[in-house]
Symmetry: C2
Subunit: 265 residues, 2 copies
């Protein structure tokens, strides 16, 4: 990739703290090249205290057409935008911003829809299913909203922080009344389970209760990319469940990002 | 190049206005890779009114180890530095900044020494020669200083702006007393002629008097990279002069930049 990389290449900063772990610089740059777009995604490690000023100054860079935000800057990215998709507004966070024709930034939050696309790409249905969401943080919030938008019959939310769980319940219930409920780590009675917690990252452990009660009728998805097969997914596969990995979600996210940035050119 | 490009890649912004014409993003990034440094040079087009703030905010980016400045931002880059080489201080301009261990920026101005290295690489001597410099702008100023530092017996300066010519004469005479004089476009009596004006860029014309009076004993150098063989160099070669092209200067500059940025790591 980047054979023609030059001063004319368009620039897409990605901000995070830390930043060394992100895969988007290489992968999204490659996807841009495959789509015929001479552009490069450039990582910047910016501390939370300085992110608002950093984003504001990027306005000045006339060869910057878009930017991406990862943890912990998705809320700052949303604040920086002049306009936003409905889902970004509801969540108050954004992972992509593109420059609008008036020079302002338009925001979207693609994490949730990426998981929905990955589930669909794996041949699983979403409409009418009873879903259990584990984790009500940034990724979990976005995924919960998009599962509801995609037509799940029910969304139960589990989080070790009851305050965070109830905040997300309230946000989602406001637009999907009657479909959102509190959940536990017990998957019994659900047929679509999505882990959006860091548990399982680097080979860590989820709740044993969760894994013990999996059944072959359930579909299980995980946001974690390393390892691709988390202990949860390993157990799910052993039980005969269909699975979706964080890598599958990341693949779907890349295509959504290309569409978001290039659709407006 | 950039096979391993990732969130861990170190970032070197280059600022200019315009920026699309610069070759450093591709070439210096390739030179970093050849030196085993996982780093990328990223172009940013920033207007003069906004450059000081843009540079200041780059301080926040913890994965930015250095930056480069091209026209018209070499003076702003110098102003932004906490410390600088003697030649950058004398000229009040810089084309490279690297982050020092205390977090501040250290500046250098490599344009002049790049031309000196290119002349030496072409097998020509500099010490004791009578040199004529055409153009007292940013590049010309840096080249004039380094020709003197490298030991020319005499430096005559020609510029269509007498004010600019005399300003450079005064600056250089302060450190190389008795060696700096005003010049014209007539090369008679000189044995090293360096063009540092935009004349000849895109096939434009220098003074016909200059070309008519070239002689085989003269060495002729040009800062222009496109075309590589300018009308001046074409005429010089026809007269049997030895020549140095802007591409040769740019090649020397790349190696100096790698040394500047990596020497301090």
């Amino acid at each position: 990739m980047l054979e023609n990389y030059s001063g004319a290449t368009r620039i897409y900063p990605i901000v995070g703290d830390p930043i060394a772990q992100v895969k988007s610089p290489g992968r999204l740059t490659g996807a841009f090249a495959a789509a015929g777009h001479d552009a490069i995604v450039v990582p910047f490690q910016i501390a939370p205290a300085e992110i608002d000023e950093f984003l504001r100054v990027l306005d000045f860079a006339r060869n910057v057409d878009g930017m991406l935000a990862t943890v912990p800057h998705k809320f700052a990215a949303y604040r920086h935008a002049a306009s936003a998709s409905e889902r970004a507004r509801l969540l108050g966070s954004a992972n992509v911003l593109r420059r609008a024709s008036d020079g302002g930034w338009h925001a979207d939050m693609l994490d949730g829809v990426a998981m929905v696309r990955a589930i669909e790409a794996a041949g699983m249905s979403i409409r009418g299913r009873r879903s259990l969401l584990l984790g009500a943080g940034g990724a979990g919030s976005a995924i919960g909203l998009e599962l509801l938008n995609a037509g799940v019959a029910q969304l139960a939310i589990h989080d070790t922080s009851r305050e965070r769980r109830d905040a997300l319940r309230k946000t989602l219930a406001a637009v999907h009344r009657g479909k959102v409920a509190p959940g536990t780590a017990d998957p019994t009675g659900f047929d679509l389970i999505v882990n959006a917690t860091p548990a399982g990252m680097g080979g860590g452990e989820e709740s044993p209760a969760l894994r013990d009660k999996l059944a072959a009728s359930m579909s299980v998805a995980d946001v974690i990319t390393v390892p691709e097969i988390t202990p949860l997914l390993h157990a799910a596969r052993a039980k005969g469940c269909r699975i979706v990995t964080g890598v599958g979600m990341h693949d779907a996210s890349l295509q959504l990002m290309v569409d978001f940035f290039m659709g407006a050119r």
